[in-house]
C-alpha cells in the first residue's frame, strides 16, 4: 500500500481498490487460505437447519479497552448465531471507510477481526469495501453477516420462556457500555474497566450438550442492557420475570462509574454476555457448566419467570422492595440529578 491514508480511489473498483484488497484486506482476513476472486463465495452442502444474521457496527470510539470495532464486529455476529444454538460456519465483512482514515488504523482493525475469527474458528468468506468522502462516515462502519448451522432440533427462542424457568447470566453486567463511555471525551473518567466483548458459541454448545431441551431461551443483552432484553423476552413469551438485585453480578468499578454518571447498570450494554432461561430442575447443572467455561466464571442465577403476567419485568431491590422495569425511551444519558 503506497498511501498512508485511505483515498476515494480505494473504493472505486480500479487499481487502488485492488491494491487495498491485495496488499491489506485479503492477506489479513483470509489468513493462509487462498481467496477465490468471484462475486460470491460457495459453501459446501450442509446438514441441518441454517441460521442467518446480520449486524452493523458504528461504535465510537473505535478502539476501547480490550477490544475494537473489529473484534466486536466478529463476536457480535457470532453471538447472534449462538443465541439460536447455531454454530458459525461463514462470515461476510462489509466495510464503509471514510476518506482520510489512516491505513494503520484499518490494519489494526483488520488484524483484530482476523484474530477474532480465528479464535472462533470461523472463515471470513466474502466481503465488500466502499470509501465515502470525508465527513460522510465516522472513520469506519462495519457490517458483518453470519451463517450458522443448527446441529440440534431444539426450539431455543425468546417466545419459549416458561413459568418457573430460572434466568442465568454468564458474568458481570454493564462492562462494555461503561468501558466505551469511560473512554469518551468529555466525561474524563479513568478506570481499568474493560469491555467484556467475547465469543459465546462454545459456551452455548456446552450448555446445549449438557441440558438439551431444558434450555428454553437464549439472548445476548447488548444495547439497552439486560433490562431491555428481559423486557423483550417477557413480552415475546408473554410472562412475568422477577429479578433479584442482590444476585446481579456487577464489577465494583462498573458500579462506581455508573454511580458517578447517574446510570443504571441494568440498562448498560454488554458484548460477551448471554441470558439463559433454563427449566428449574436443570438450573444447577447449567450454572455448573457455565462456571467452568472461560467466559462464564462469574455466572449466576439472577431471577426467574414468576407468572403469566404478560410482558412484565420486576426487580426485587436490595432492601426487599419491588419496582417495575420498563424499556427506556432512548439512550441512557449521564445525569447529575
Amino acid at each position: 500500500m503506497k498511501s498512508e491514508i485511505i483515498l476515494l480511489g480505494h473504493g472505486s473498483g480500479g487499481k487502488l481498490s485492488h491494491e487495498l484488497l491485495d496488499d491489506l484486506i485479503v492477506p489479513i482476513l483470509s489468513g493462509t487460505e487462498p481467496r477465490d476472486q468471484n462475486d460470491a463465495a460457495i459453501l459446501a452442502r450442509q446438514q441441518g437447519r441454517l441460521a442467518f444474521t446480520t449486524d452493523s457496527y458504528v461504535v465510537d470510539p473505535i478502539f476501547f479497552p480490550d477490544g475494537s470495532i473489529g473484534s466486536l464486529a466478529i463476536y457480535g455476529t457470532i453471538n447472534d448465531l449462538a443465541m439460536t444454538g447455531a454454530m458459525p460456519i461463514a462470515i461476510s465483512v462489509g466495510l464503509i471507510l471514510e476518506e482520510g482514515l489512516a491505513v494503520n488504523t484499518l490494519r489494526t482493525i483488520l488484524e483484530d477481526m482476523s484474530a477474532a475469527a480465528q479464535k472462533v474458528g470461523v472463515r471470513i468468506m466474502t466481503g465488500d469495501t466502499k470509501v465515502v468522502p470525508r465527513n460522510k462516515a465516522d472513520r469506519i462502519f462495519v457490517n458483518t453477516s453470519g451463517i450458522g448451522i443448527l446441529l440440534h432440533d431444539l426450539e431455543i427462542s425468546g417466545s419459549n420462556a416458561q413459568i418457573g424457568d430460572k434466568v442465568l447470566i454468564n458474568g458481570t453486567i454493564g462492562d462494555h457500555g461503561m468501558a466505551v463511555m469511560a473512554h469518551r471525551e468529555g466525561l474524563a473518567l479513568t478506570s481499568d474497566i474493560t469491555s467484556d466483548c467475547a465469543p459465546l458459541n462454545s459456551l452455548v454448545e456446552e450448555l446445549i450438550s449438557g441440558v438439551g431441551c431444558r434450555l428454553h431461551a437464549l439472548r445476548d443483552p447488548t444495547r439497552g442492557g439486560i433490562a431491555t432484553t428481559l423486557k423483550e423476552i417477557a413480552m415475546q413469551s408473554e410472562v412475568e420475570i422477577t429479578l433479584q438485585e442482590n444476585s446481579l453480578p456487577v464489577n465494583p468499578a462498573v458500579a462506581g462509574a455508573c454511580a458517578i454518571l447517574g446510570l443504571d447498570p441494568l440498562f448498560v450494554a454488554n458484548e460477551g454476555k448471554l441470558l439463559a432461561f433454563v427449566a428449574p430442575d436443570a438450573a444447577e447443572q447449567a450454572l455448573a457448566i457455565m462456571r467452568k467455561h472461560e467466559f462464564g466464571k462469574a455466572s449466576a442465577v439472577i431471577g426467574e419467570v414468576t407468572s403469566p403476567n404478560k410482558g412484565k419485568v420486576r426487580l426485587q431491590t436490595a432492601i426487599g422492595g419491588l419496582r417495575a422495569i420498563e424499556m427506556l425511551a432512548g439512550e441512557q444519558l449521564p445525569r447529575i440529578c
Binding site: 473518567l189 468499578a253 454511580a259 458517578i260 447529575i336 440529578c337
Partner: protein
C-alpha cells in the same frame, strides 16, 4: 439536581484532586471545601467536592440503624 458520590481523595494539586471510587478515578475541584487530606472521603457532585464525609457521624448513624435491628424489632 443532587446526585453525589462518596469518593476518596488520592492526590491533591492546588485546588484540584484526583478522587476514586472502586478503582474509577476522576478529577474534582476542591474550591468549595477546606483542609482536605489524602485519604479523606468527600462527596462529589458535578465535578466538585461539596463536603467532607464525617466518619464519626457515619459510624453513629450506622450504629443507630444496627441498634434497631438488635432490639429484636425484625419480624418473624
Amino acid at each position: 439536581m443532587c446526585l453525589g458520590v462518596p469518593m476518596q481523595v488520592k492526590t491533591i494539586e492546588n485546588d484540584m484532586a484526583i478522587c476514586e471510587i472502586d478503582g474509577v478515578q476522576r478529577e474534582a475541584s476542591l474550591m468549595m471545601i477546606d483542609d482536605v487530606a489524602i485519604g479523606d472521603f468527600v462527596l462529589i457532585h458535578a465535578g466538585f467536592a461539596i463536603e467532607r464525609i464525617d466518619e464519626e457521624e457515619a459510624r453513629l448513624t450506622l450504629r443507630a440503624l444496627r441498634e434497631a435491628l438488635d432490639q429484636g424489632l425484625v419480624p418473624e
